[in-house]
Structure formats: structure tokens, C-alpha cells
């Protein structure tokens, strides 16, 4: 074997070893959460050596989680109380009572609405910053970027006051709107949209497209993979929000992180329930990722313009 090939092989081995190590470091805690959720609390807390094989207590743990009074984790069928009585049968019309949302449904709903709204706003802003010239473009862009360094702790009180003045306390909009125009999202979309060739947009202009049609008929479809990546970032951001939802929402409307926090009591921490809740909270993210994975197709702009 030649010296160079051998060195290459060693480097390749080291690279893979490093990646593998990273993967293990990431997966072990997740696996342990899953294992713990299937064990009795005593089994994974008191044993001297940690147990790595799943047990059979998952549903028992889940039932005790669902039985709690201060937090509704997974929702349940609601009672529809408004109906039109037609004698032998009746038609209920209060579909909003069809399902009593738990923390998981709240989180999915909030993060879903937030992701769609934020995708729209971020890509529109990104498109404007990437493809248009306007006065004070740079200062505005830098001002938006600068908001990235403001910690949430600094914003909680002013945001709370603002939201209560808007009458949005204990309303999901209060945790959706403040971050809807996400500076990181705007930055990412701006960077990606710069790769759209000007000629492509001009060509569409010549074809009779309005500026908004340029955006949704040309720019957005070519940005599919970026939008998919940004969706995950935005969804996770909202999924993990803790402090502000804790402050602005009441108990019945808690999202997952806040709900899990309720399992930490003054006298005792319900580790078994926390582990079940954590395991369940991973599932929607996992599904979202599987769903978007096929969109991560690189080179969607290939063949558009000849270099």
C-alpha cells in the first residue's frame, strides 16, 4: 500500500470514529430517557449500576402521568355541550369541545402555526433583503441581526406588559407573535435567496409576473430545501420555548416544556413521569423530520442558468 493511500485510510478511519463518537454522545441520553420511561422509578434511581434494557412499566408510568391533576399531558375526548335536539337524535355543533387539548396537542398546534407564519414572514423578509435595493437596507438588516443577542430573560417583562395590553394573556398568540419574524430565519433565508440568479427573476418579470408572483412562483419553489431546514429550526425553537409560556399561559394551556416542569414538585420530582413525557415529546419532532427529510434535496437550482 502506498504511503499516501495509507494516510488517507487512517484519516478516513479517524473521521468516522469522531462522527461515531458524536452520534453516541447524542443518542445515549435519548436512549436512556427511553429506557427510564419503561422502568419503575425505583428501578432506575436506586440501582447501583444503571439498567440499559427496557422494562415493561411504560403504560403504568403513562397512566400515572395522565392521572395527575395539575397537568394534562395528552388530551382526551371532550364533552360537547351545545347541540340541536332533534328528538331521537341530536347534532352537536361545539366542535371546539370535541377534544380537550393536552400539552402535546398544544405544543403541536402552537409550533405548527408558528412555523407556517414564521416561514412566510422570514422568507418574505429574506427575499426583500436579498433581491431588492431600498433605503437603509443595511442598517435595518443589522438591527434585525442585533436582536439575536437579546436574551429572553430581558424581554419577559416588557413582552408580558405588551401582551397583556393587547389582551393576549393566556392566549397562544402571545407565544407565537413575538417571535414570528425570527431574526435567525430572516438571516438564513436572505443568505439562501442570494443564490437565486437575478436573471431568473428578471425573466419572470419579462414573462409578466408581479413582484409577489416572483416571490411565490419562482423564489419559494426554488428554496424548498432551505424552507424544509428552516421549518425544523423554527419548529424546534417554538417547541422548546419555556420561560415566556410559563409566564403568560395558565395551567390549562401549558405547552410541553412548561407541563414537564410541573412534574418537579416541592417535595418530590416525578422522574418516571418526566421520562415518559420526554419520550412522548420527541415523537412529533421525529415525525416532522422524517416528513421533511425528502425535501433536503440539494441542487434544486441546478439547470436554471448556465454558468
Amino acid at each position: 500500500m502506498r504511503e499516501e493511500t495509507r494516510r488517507e485510510a487512517v484519516w478516513q478511519f479517524l473521521t468516522y470514529a469522531f462522527i461515531l463518537l458524536g452520534a453516541i454522545l447524542t443518542l445515549v441520553p435519548l436512549y436512556w430517557i427511553f429506557v427510564a420511561s419503561t422502568l419503575k422509578e425505583s428501578q432506575f434511581l436506586s440501582s447501583t449500576s444503571p439498567r440499559l434494557a427496557p422494562g415493561d412499566s411504560f403504560f403504568a408510568n403513562f397512566q400515572s402521568l395522565q392521572a395527575r391533576e395539575n397537568v394534562q399531558f395528552v388530551g382526551h375526548v371532550g364533552e360537547m355541550t351545545h347541540y340541536i335536539d332533534l328528538g331521537p337524535f341530536y347534532i352537536a355543533y361545539d366542535f371546539w369541545n370535541l377534544w380537550n387539548m393536552g400539552a402535546i396537542e398544544s405544543s403541536i398546534f402552537v409550533a405548527g402555526v408558528y412555523t407556517l407564519l414564521s416561514l412566510l414572514l422570514c422568507s418574505m423578509a429574506g427575499f426583500a433583503f436579498a433581491k431588492y435595493e431600498f433605503r437603509f437596507k443595511k442598517p435595518i438588516f443589522y438591527a434585525i441581526l442585533a436582536t439575536l443577542i437579546l436574551p429572553i430573560q430581558l424581554l419577559v417583562i416588557p413582552l408580558f406588559l405588551l401582551m397583556s395590553q393587547l389582551g393576549l394573556t393566556n392566549n397562544y398568540w402571545a407565544i407565537i407573535l413575538p417571535w414570528a419574524a425570527n431574526p435567525l430565519g430572516i438571516f438564513l433565508m436572505r443568505q439562501n435567496m442570494r443564490s437565486i440568479p437575478d436573471a431568473l427573476l428578471e425573466s419572470a418579470r419579462m414573462d409578466g409576473a408581479t413582484e409577489f408572483q416572483l416571490f411565490y412562483k419562482i423564489a419559494l419553489p426554488t428554496m424548498k430545501s432551505s424552507l424544509a431546514a428552516l421549518s425544523i429550526i423554527l419548529f424546534l425553537f417554538q417547541w422548546n420555548l419555556f420561560l415566556f409560556p410559563l409566564v403568560i399561559l395558565d395551567q390549562g394551556k401549558y405547552t410541553i416544556p412548561v407541563a414537564i416542569n410541573q412534574l418537579v414538585g416541592a417535595q418530590r420530582v416525578y422522574y418516571d413521569q418526566i421520562m415518559v413525557a420526554a419520550t412522548l415529546s420527541i415523537i412529533p419532532i421525529f415525525v416532522l423530520f422524517l416528513f421533511l427529510q425528502k425535501q433536503f434535496v440539494s441542487g434544486i437550482l441546478a439547470g436554471s442558468v448556465k454558468e
Partner: protein, 386 residues
């Protein structure tokens, strides 16, 4: 369909101190159905002029008219023109059918079936009917080019604007598409403005050629006019391949003294009256090798098959000659050359304006007021071909 008029069109980029003048007061009349080629070196303002006509750039001052309609303030989509870009700019997420039909969908009220029919007609005309369901990235450069053309043709616009559409194709495909484009343009009879930096392309394709330099329009005329009667040294130098040989000569009555012992007696000295020096131009193809002429030293010979290019030195000046393929001077060999006075160009050394051009005054005037359309014989010929 309509002609296009540029009335003192001026375009500056930026403003105030940093303003860059890209197009300076261009006046140009393009007739209905004419194929006009804007040609010039890079940065001469030809593409900017085209973009102003397209409505992709606002003009700083001046007016643009399509027929009698002032479109200066119109946006690109309101002007009813179609543009073919250098890099084709196909929509990557749409198949060929949608790429071609996109403009019709946006700008007309036609039904999907009608649009589809037109797209298929145009695709058949361009020979790409089998590619309608392919995405742009699956196509070759030549096919992408045809799709880009199809997108322009299908809209039946008032004018075609083409920005170096052939420059990304390889040489063989380029000359093939050149002919196809010309035939297509004649068949469709749509006013076309075509930008290129390639003077050969310009000469071959244009009904008329507009030569630009430094944002200014230098000359508009047929290929023959700009070649034989350039208005100044720039046009003479830019048009023709290899380019014209130009050097300084001192004027002594009717005698011109140039570098390396070059002397020439003008039979008519009127163009150089009152001048001490003059710029002398001779086209490579007007140089013949003789036994008793002006001596120069051969450097390199490029055999082309049907002709030879001979690169020589006259004093400290490089001179290119296009000579008989049977003649093959060796490097460092001294050769002697001669030329006809009728083939001589003379330029003012200060302004660059032409004082004398080839066969001065004998060219039929085919300027703005003559019909630059293809002659009837051309059309008859095309019908015969069809």
C-alpha cells in the same frame, strides 16, 4: 408588432459624485421587423441599453417608444417584449412545458388547453416536442437554449430582446443556432434587438449593426457599411477579423511617412490637408505580398486552410496580413507588401474620425430611411426552402 425608438436615452448608475454613466444619449430607430444587433466591447453599455428597452432598468433621461407608444415609464411586464438571457434563466422547478407556458399563464386569459396547444406548436417549431416533460437540468446547453427561445416566441411579443444568447454554446452549435435564429426571426417577422460582443456574429446576423463604445452609439448601418465606411477608428478596429492595422504616419504634402521606412504617395491628398500626422489603416485582407513593396519582417504564420494569417513587424508596429495559402514566409524572413489606395483608411489622429474609408462615397446609402428588411429575393428563397 412595432418599431422601437430610443430618443436621447441616458442611463446613469448611482447618483451624485459616484454616478457611473453607462449609456450616453443614445438615439436609435429600429424598424418594424428589423433584426438589429448591438455590438461593442464589454462594458460599452450595449446590455444596459437592451435592459432599458426591456424595462429592467429605468432610464435616467430620454424616451423609449414602441411604435407611437411611449413606454419609458412602463414596467417590464407592461411592455409586451420577450427577452432571452445569456444564461437562459429557465425556471428550475418547472418542466419545459411550464417554462414555455409560464408567460402565457400570467399575461393572458387563455384556457389551459389553448396554452398547451401553443406551447406544443412552439416546441414543434423548435424541435423540442419530446422534451416537454423534462426539467431544465436534464437538458443539454443547446436544448436549454431552445427552451429559452420557445419561452420568448410563444408569447408573440412586440419585440424580441436577446442578450448574448449564443455565447454559452460551443462553436459548432453556435453557428448552427445562428442560422436557425435568423430564419426564425425572418419567419416570425418580429422586431429583434440582439446584443453581442462578437463582431462576426453581429455581421452575420444583423439587418443592421449598431456599434457602441463607452456608452455612446458610434455608428448604425449594415454590415457592409460599418465594415467599409466606419465613422471612426474605433468602429474600423472593432469590425473585421483580424482587426485592421493602424499606425501613425507624418504627412508631407501627399506623402505619408510611417514606421519602418513606410512611405506612400497619395494620389488624392485632400483628406490630409492641414494635418501634420494621420492615422493610417489597412485591412489585413487588402495587403498583398509583392516583390518590390514596403518591407516588413515575418514573425508567425497561421495556416487556416483556405488562407494564411501572417503576423509581421513594420518598424515597431505589428501588422497582420491575410495572404494566399500557397505563400508561406518563414519567421524573420523579410517580405514586401503593397495595397491599393482605394483600400486605404485614414483617421484624424486627435478625434479618431474617419477622413477616408474604403471606396469612399461609392457605397449605396442604406441608412435609417431605407428599408432594411430582407429583400424579396431572400423571402422567395426561403419560401422555396420551405
Amino acid at each position: 408588432m412595432s418599431g422601437i425608438t430610443l430618443d436621447t436615452v441616458r442611463k446613469e448608475f448611482g447618483s451624485g459624485e459616484e454616478a457611473v454613466l453607462a449609456v450616453e444619449d443614445v438615439d436609435l430607430e429600429i424598424e418594424d421587423g428589423e433584426f438589429l444587433v448591438l455590438v461593442g466591447p464589454s462594458g460599452c453599455g450595449k446590455t444596459t441599453t437592451l435592459r432599458c428597452i426591456a424595462g429592467l432598468e429605468d432610464v435616467t433621461s430620454g424616451r423609449i417608444l414602441f411604435g407611437d407608444r411611449d413606454v419609458t415609464e412602463f414596467r417590464a411586464r407592461e411592455r409586451d417584449v420577450a427577452m432571452v438571457f445569456q444564461n437562459y434563466a429557465l425556471y428550475p422547478h418547472m418542466d419545459v412545458r411550464d417554462n414555455i407556458g409560464f408567460g402565457l399563464k400570467l399575461s393572458t386569459q387563455q384556457s389551459a388547453a389553448e396554452i398547451d396547444q401553443q406551447v406544443e406548436d412552439v416546441a414543434a417549431m423548435l424541435g423540442i416536442e419530446d422534451l416537454l416533460d423534462d426539467k431544465p437540468k436534464e437538458l443539454s446547453g443547446g436544448q436549454q437554449q431552445r427552451v429559452a427561445l420557445g419561452r420568448a416566441i410563444v408569447r408573440d411579443p412586440a419585440a424580441f430582446l436577446m442578450d448574448e444568447p449564443l455565447s454559452n454554446l460551443d462553436a459548432k452549435l453556435r453557428s448552427q443556432m445562428r442560422t436557425e435564429l435568423q430564419t426564425l426571426q425572418h419567419d416570425l417577422d418580429v422586431t429583434t434587438v440582439y446584443v453581442t460582443h462578437d463582431q462576426t456574429e453581429a455581421m452575420a446576423m444583423g439587418d443592421r449593426i449598431a456599434v457602441m463604445n463607452d456608452g455612446r452609439l458610434q455608428q448604425v448601418g449594415t454590415a457592409e457599411e460599418v465594415y467599409r465606411s466606419p465613422v471612426n477608428e474605433f468602429v474600423a478596429d472593432f469590425i473585421g477579423s483580424p482587426s485592421i492595422n493602424v499606425f501613425d504616419a507624418t504627412v508631407d504634402g501627399s506623402r505619408l511617412d510611417g514606421p519602418g521606412g513606410f512611405t506612400y504617395h497619395l494620389s488624392d491628398a485632400s483628406p490630409v490637408e492641414d494635418l501634420d500626422t494621420v492615422r493610417v489603416g489597412i485591412r489585413p485582407e487588402d495587403i498583398t505580398l509583392v516583390d518590390d513593396g514596403i518591407p516588413m519582417v515575418a514573425n508567425v504564420l497561421e495556416p487556416m486552410g483556405n488562407e494564411n494569417f501572417l503576423y509581421t513587424t513594420l518598424g515597431d508596429h505589428d501588422i497582420t496580413a491575410r495572404i494566399d495559402p500557397t505563400k508561406r514566409p518563414q519567421p524573420d524572413e523579410t517580405v514586401e507588401f503593397a495595397f491599393e489606395e482605394s483600400a486605404l483608411y485614414l483617421f484624424d489622429p486627435d478625434t479618431g474620425d474617419a477622413l477616408k474609408t474604403k471606396d469612399d462615397g461609392e457605397i449605396p446609402d442604406r441608412g435609417a430611411d431605407t428599408d432594411a428588411r430582407p429583400s424579396e429575393t431572400d423571402e422567395a428563397l426561403e419560401e422555396a426552402i420551405e
